[in-house]
């Protein structure tokens, strides 16, 4: 019986009323019917499915639950091979795709947000969000159909069906779909004809098959490899991945394999007579990309291998060597070898050092043009064009088309800074013209109109220029929602994440840099900070822990706060560990150490109080990285903790380019800017408010508080400035929960200023965060209030001792 007949029989049976099909057989069968028979690739798979079905049809009974599930899984596995084969490769409209891709990113972001919001809500309580998510997926499906991206379209369709069918919103599968779509979109942005990433598991999830709940989709095999060394013989290569890059590895592997498949297809095409140099170029690029990414991830054997192959390819590309089919053979085998090397990273392949050395030798000989006829004799045969493991090998390789997403371009920050500086100068120059007495004499209406037009344009230009570098923390924080969800389920904790101030704007470079530290800190907070539900209940707390992530401005810097209500830092444990590891400088009196000093020890490299290393954290690498990253941004990390009540991490970040509201004050001839955020009030002191203590420190009594009086003139060792606190003005400032009054000569006014660094040419001046260019083009220094208060309070303490 031919397959077609068998399917027709089945269809007829399903149509009869007595049949109770275990799965959605109808659509599956009609899909196969639509497919040309010769295009059915995985005949064996289909055959086994049909056999199961026929057995079921013959028995006339309902299929057992277990069998039904197996069948469903089989179908899910079979479908992708069908798709790849029978989908005609249609010409993709580059412009359309570009538009689609640029929209995609934001709509996926929105979708993820909605879905995460739905997480944990049972039943159909939040109809609004569910239908929104459904609408988004539906729109997406439609768009994918237009492009056309059949694979993505199909998955969206499955997701839609799943949402309709499920009682609760299927958060996990949809999140995975989002991840998958993201990966696909990234691939498409590189190459319009990129193949969709691997999706078997995803399809299973979308078809509602049970999953190992709690394990993240692309379970990271690497940590296991580190802990339980795989059974390699001594001479096998082991590729270790640094912890920081673990997340990037699965992506790298799937991308690299995709590149290699493309390269193989191109090589075969070349071999079969299409002597287009573009094929070689494509192969070259594939190896080059793999080399680059592998280099970034520190996978040196791969880098070495890819580099050597690339070198040979380069010789051919430049026309130094003729590309004979012997070379093609060599490259095809290199592809295979590299795939195996990549498999080593995954932990499911082995590759010996001797083999790698052998390859290096062959490749370096090949660079010389000395092609040995014998390639490394290994079990791997030359992949046959029709080899089923490589379904697209015989598909005509398309010329790569780069899709330009026109909504954003990358500009070097140096150029951007230059532009912003120039615009700032333009504003100053323009205001100088406006205020020029000579210009003021011109009183024609036309001139005035033009002049005000110029002012307006200048202002707009300045605003536009300023906004160029600023982005909100929204995206970064959104990623954390996802992270908390994944990590908490993995660690078996219940965590509720609250987010505040996600609209706080920060310099783009800063936002990019804080992602990593945030990940580490949140992982730590979930893994170590928050207790398991049982422990929490025992401690009389809500079983669900709360993690608060907030961002706000404080005293001219931005603070990102990560607060958990977990068990807090264990002072004694840290201290014990520190002594054990001899982190303390000799002669330290332990009883004199403040809490802060002890807490800060967790930032020491390799410091960890975790009893056991999990694959989430505990190695003691994280906090060291956090501090390094934050300090590289000239920021600070502080810890506040109370045992049993929780821990708060403060990341204090400078606004390298942020605009602040500042109060311009005068002391002597110089003007200084005090960040308005740090100012509580300013006032004229009355004699009864000021008191000297032991003829040294001066204090001011205001609103029932006694605050130290600080003279900037003294702190900065200035020549000029008001001495008499009753003739000048006192500015009450606050930073880091410390308050003081600063004596200034007068307040000149309030204005927005751009913080500029004083440049690498100057050593940081204590008490000064940077400079601002005022309206007349002169520089005013911006005061670092927290630095001043800090210095003042430590001085006082020292005097006290």
């Amino acid at each position: 019986m031919s397959i077609r007949q068998r399917i027709e029989n089945l269809c007829a049976y399903i149509a009869s009323p007595k049949a109770t099909p275990p799965v959605d057989l109808k659509s599956f069968l009609s899909r196969i019917q639509e497919t040309r028979e010769d295009a059915l690739l995985d005949l064996e798979g289909l055959d086994s499915i049909l056999q199961t079905l026929e057995a079921w049809m013959d028995s006339g009974k309902e299929l057992g639950e277990k069998e039904a599930k197996e069948l469903e899984a089989q179908i899910a596995k079979f479908l992708p091979s069908l798709q790849k084969k029978d989908a005609p490769i249609e010409e993709i409209d580059a412009e359309l795709l570009g538009m689609f891709l640029s929209e995609c990113k934001s709509s996926l972001q929105d979708l993820e947000e909605t879905v995460l919001h739905l997480d944990g809500i049972s039943g159909k309580e939040d109809q609004e969000d569910i239908s929104e998510a459904r609408r988004t997926i539906h729109t997406f499906k439609g768009e994918c159909g237009v492009i056309p991206l059949p694979e993505a379209q199909r998955l969206c369709h499955l997701a839609e069906t799943l949402i309709d069918r499920s009682e609760n919103f299927p958060v996990d599968p949809v999140l995975r779909l989002i991840d998958w779509l993201r990966r696909y979109v990234d691939l498409l942005a590189e190459d319009a004809h990129a193949k969709p990433p691997e999706n078997c598991e995803l399809i299973e999830a979308l078809m509602g098959l049970p999953q190992n709940q709690g394990s993240t989709p692309k379970a990271l095999p690497i940590p296991q490899e580190e802990e339980i060394p795989a059974i390699h013989t001594d001479e096998n290569i082991e590729i270790e991945v640094e912890e920081d890059f673990l997340e990037n590895v699965p992506e790298f592997i799937s991308e690299a394999l995709g590149h290699l498949n493309d390269a193989e297809a191109a090589l075969l095409e070349y071999d079969q007579g299409d002597k287009d140099i573009e094929h070689i170029n494509l192969t070259f690029r594939a190896f080059h990309t793999i080399k680059g990414v592998a280099g970034f991830l520190g996978l040196s054997p791969i880098v070495q291998f890819a580099h050597n192959t690339e070198a040979v390819l380069d010789e051919i590309r430049k026309g130094n060597r003729e590309c004979t089919s012997a070379y093609i053979d060599l490259f095809l085998q290199s592809c295979d070898a590299l795939k195996r090397l990549i498999g080593v990273v995954e932990g499911n392949q082995s590759f010996s050092h001797a083999e790698l050395a052998h390859w290096n030798e062959i490749l370096s000989k090949a660079i010389e043009g000395n092609l040995s006829p014998e390639h490394p004799s290994r079990s791997t045969p030359l992949p046959h064009p029709q080899s089923p493991s490589n379904p697209r090998a015989d598909a005509p390789p398309q010329k790569r088309k780069r899709i330009k997403i026109d909504t954003s371009i990358k500009v070097s920050t140096r150029r951007l800074d230059r532009l912003i500086d120039m615009v700032g100068e333009l504003v100053i120059a323009q205001s100088m013209i406006n205020q020029d007495p000579q210009v003021k004499l011109i009183r024609t209406q036309r001139f005035n109109r033009n002049l005000s037009q110029v002012s307006k344009i200048t202002r707009d230009l300045q605003e536009a220029a300023m906004s160029l570098r600023m982005v909100t923390l929204k995206q970064t924080f959104q990623k954390m929602v996802r992270l908390v969800r994944d990590v908490s389920s993995k660690a078996g904790k219940q965590v509720h994440l609250e987010i505040h101030g996600e609209d706080t704007e920060l310099d783009r470079t800063v936002v990019e840099e804080i992602g990593d530290p945030l990940v580490h800190m949140i992982r730590n907070a979930v893994d170590h900070g928050i207790e398991t539900p049982e422990e929490r209940v025992a401690a009389g707390k809500d079983p669900t822990g709360t993690l608060t992530l907030s961002a706000y401005h404080q005293g001219g810097s931005i603070v990102i706060e990560i607060q958990d209500d977990g068990k807090g830092l264990d002072r004694d444990k840290i201290l014990a560990k520190a002594m054990e590891r001899q982190c303390l400088p000799p002669g330290t009196n332990i009883s004199e150490l403040g809490d802060q000093q002890i807490y800060n020890m967790v930032f020491l490299p390799g410091f960890s109080t975790a009893d056991k290393v999990t694959d989430i954290s505990g190695r003691g690498v994280g906090m060291d990285v956090v501090r390094k990253n934050i300090e590289a941004l000239r920021g600070k990390v502080e810890i506040d903790s109370e045992k049993g009540r929780g821990t708060t991490f403060f990341m204090r970040l400078p606004l390298t380019l942020a605009i602040i509201d500042g109060m311009v004050v005068r002391i002597g001839k110089e003007r200084y800017v005090i960040p308005t955020l740090a100012i509580i009030q300013s006032f004229q002191a009355k004699p009864h408010q000021v008191q000297t203590i032991m003829d040294q420190g001066e204090t001011v009594k205001i609103q029932g508080q006694i605050l130290p009086l600080l003279r900037l003139k003294k702190i900065f060792e200035l020549q000029e400035g008001q001495e008499d606190p009753f003739k000048g003005l006192l500015v009450n400032v606050e930073a880091n929960n410390k308050r003081a009054c600063l004596l200034v000569d007068e307040i000149l006014g309030q204005q927005q200023v751009v913080i500029k660094s004083l440049g690498k040419g100057t050593k940081p001046v204590p008490g000064v965060t940077g400079g601002a260019i005022l309206g007349d083009g002169k520089v005013a220094l911006i005061l670092d209030i927290s630095g001043i208060l800090e210095a003042a309070s430590t001085n006082r303490q020292m005097q006290g001792v």
Binding site: I420, E717, L758, G759, V765, G767, V768, G771, K778, L781
Partner: protein
């Protein structure tokens, strides 16, 4: 940029910008000079050595200015009509942004060509006079120009972060 002294044997001709501090003529390699600007208002930087005059706004960029006369312990520069600031540029790290610094001087003279062979090493005076930031003495037709190793001047002015970083490493 740094080939002046090393390739002395080739006797190449280098261009120097010469200027005056009091009546002494000094020279800076022209490649290190970015521009010459008039003296503008300077903002004093607190707690810095006295030769640091302050910072200025150079078209949106804030750069420090040092008083060379003060640096060389010849007294303080009196700002007159002819006084100006030579903005020099030193590349600290490759590919990095060059650091710009201003030098306050009494009067700019000219750009002169000086053959490397006409440069004599700075004489040692002994005692307290520090000649380490003098590249050499350049002889022109009728006069002698004191050629400055401007990188060194800055490095030893305890101004730059490079210097402070180097101190940490010690």
């Amino acid at each position: 940029m740094n080939q002046t002294m090393e390739k002395k044997e080739l006797s190449r001709v280098q261009k120097y910008l010469s200027f005056f501090i009091q009546d002494e003529e000094y020279g800076i390699e022209i490649l290190k000079v970015r521009e010459i600007i008039g003296v503008t208002d300077m903002t004093a930087l607190p707690k810095t050595p006295s030769f640091v005059k302050g910072v200025i706004n150079l078209r949106g960029r804030i750069i420090p200015v040092i008083d060379l006369k003060r640096k060389f312990e010849m007294g303080e520069t009196e700002i007159k009509e002819e006084s100006c600031i030579i903005v020099t540029e030193i590349q600290v790290v490759e590919d990095g942004d060059p650091i710009q610094m201003g030098c306050l001087i009494d009067r700019v003279s000219e750009v002169t060509n000086i053959e490397d062979s006409k440069i004599e090493p700075a004489p040692k005076f002994g005692g307290s006079l520090d000649t380490s930031f003098i590249l050499g003495l350049g002889k022109t037709k009728d006069r002698v120009c004191i050629l400055l190793d401007i990188d060194r001047v800055f490095r030893e002015s305890e101004l730059t972060e490079i210097n402070s970083a180097a101190n940490c490493n010690e």
